[in-house]
């Protein structure tokens, strides 16, 4: 049983996804405390190049399982390959991303190894050699600290919580090719369908961008929609905007409209009257953009920008667009 941390690097379009670097960063931090190293494993086909990138983000060793049978992710195929690797190398901790792949794979892998799995984790601490994992429960209404009892410990990591380390182009990793036979695969991907544009439901959205009277004219609502588009957010409206007929009542957020509880609520040109607040004040983070420094919305905003929304919103659109491309 080693003190190493094994990170499953997710590969997309031939390159590791950002979550892989975040996991390497945190993985190395934990490995340091355990007295071991962070290693990475990548599965796919034609993925030889990823080893160098993973090394730059801190992987000491990169295990590669490169085989046509692994080109598409399958739970069974990836479980077979990874289970073998883990049984061979006996890491102390295995990290996967809490992505659609990770969430589908990790439980099966954990069951194969008969170990526990902490899902969607946001923090790790080592206490007297024991690993304690923090994870949200009750949709984030509470935070649990979980103790893992069986080695190797396994966890899926929530994206965008940990920071990726700065890449060090001088670093190199040992590359080890591992048996890449996917074995028996019964559930197979037969088709991939790209997303069509569909309106996101306000009450279910993770991010909501709302517009208010500060937009001045109905055609300016396009700004709000653009910002929502780049964030993959739902679009909401204040009562003033709905009364003015710019948007239909189904967009209204507020006491007499919808109550929303997104992770992020961006209010553009909304004063923040209590009737509106009643519909969004339980948002996890609130950003407000308003010309009026006395606007009540700034009392509840985590980040408020006093300024002309016609100048601010386009910049936000650009910045978020840049950040999305980097991810």
């Amino acid at each position: 049983m080693s003190n190493d941390v094994l990170v499953l690097a997710e590969i997309r379009d031939g390159a590791p996804k950002k979550i892989s670097f975040e996991m390497l960063g945190e993985g190395q931090r934990i490995a340091d405390q355990l007295g071991g190293r962070a290693h990475a494993v990548a599965l796919g086909h034609g993925i030889g190049d990823v080893a160098a990138t993973l090394a730059q983000y801190g992987a000491q060793k990169v295990f590669l399982a490169d085989d046509p049978s692994l080109e598409d992710y399958t739970a069974e195929g990836y479980t077979n390959v990874l289970a073998n690797l883990i049984k061979q190398t006996e890491p102390a901790l295995v990290l996967l991303g809490a992505t659609t792949t990770g969430k589908d794979l990790a439980p099966r892998l954990a069951a194969r190894l008969a170990v526990g799995l902490a899902s969607d984790c946001t923090g790790f601490t080592l206490q007297d050699g024991e690993l304690l994992v923090t994870r949200p429960i009750y949709a984030g209404k509470a935070i649990a600290t979980v103790k893992e009892e069986v080695r190797p410990y396994m966890a899926t990591i929530r994206p965008n919580i940990f920071s990726a380390p700065e890449p060090d182009t001088s670093r190199e990793a040992t590359v080890e090719n591992i048996p890449a036979d996917a074995g028996q695969i019964r559930a197979k991907v037969v088709e991939m369908i790209k997303e069509a544009g569909d309106r996101i439901e306000l009450t279910e959205a993770d991010i909501v961008v709302s517009g208010g009277r500060g937009l001045k004219a109905p055609e300016n609502f396009a700004l709000v929609e653009e910002l929502a588009g780049v964030l993959g957010a739902a679009v909401g409206a204040s009562r003033a905007v709905v009364d003015a007929g710019w948007k239909d009542h189904s967009y209204q957020v507020g006491q007499t409209g919808k109550v929303v509880t997104p992770t992020l609520y961006i209010a553009c040109g909304i004063s923040g009257a209590i009737q509106h607040l009643a519909g969004m004040k339980t948002s996890r983070y609130i950003v407000a953009v308003n010309k009026d420094p006395e606007a009540p919305i700034f009392k509840v905003a985590d980040y408020g920008i006093v300024g002309d929304l016609f100048k601010v919103v386009p910049v936000l659109v650009e910045e978020f667009g840049k950040m999305k491309a980097e991810a």
């Binding site: 969430k103 439980p107 790209k194 985590d302 920008i305 100048k311 950040m323």
Partner: protein, 262 residues
Amino acid sequence: MHVVICVKQVPDTETKIRVKDGQVDHSETKYVVNPYDEYAVEEGLRIKERLGEGKITLASTGPERAKDALKSGLAVGADEAIHLVDEAFEGSDPYATALILSKALQKIDYDIVFCGKQGVDEDHAQVGIILAELLDIPHVSVVTLLEISDDQKSILAHREVEGGHEVIEAPLPAVITAQKGLNEPRYASIKGIMAVKKKVIPEWNAEEIGVDAEAVGTRAAKIAFAEVTLPPERAGGRVFDEDPVQDAIKVAHLLRDEAKIL
């Protein structure tokens, strides 16, 4: 076609979560059927209607009140329900829960097994997938559309992935975990609710299921909650009023780096 659906209860999502002595305080909690399990039950009912034949069995491993979840499923039209209950099961983690279910399922046979994609209490999202591994059958998780082949031997399942949908084909038997959007759960009917009175829900204990009491429950847990706390109070907000362009850039970055939500 025998459809088995695993259901459980969760605290009503509208309840405020209370924490006492490092644990969630359930003294005032009202329980409801886990919403994702309702999609699972509805899908089972639709399969039976589409095929014109079949049997739907519900299974649950919770304490005595879990019978309410089973009764809800019977009220909308499931045929039978079994309650897997034993003191030894208390404090089971996802692995143990799946183990109990797997042993019970082996006793009743099955063609397709449904679970909700996750319980909205502890949000592990593991039981259904672990169950598939323990039964050594394929699984498809987070399913939003399901089709059964004409020969009833395989399924086509749509699942959400980043940027779109995958279509997965798998032979039966298989485990499907239900995602929101799979269907629109039906109302129970008054007749259905009243008919539940006449249904007998058998209770199976560890011995009857054939599961080793030492392998489940608190003692066998592979993960355990050491402590539960409430999230930190929202700190006072920051207002930026220097320059619209600079402030916007600043806030965008703060959202990513400080709030960590982008």
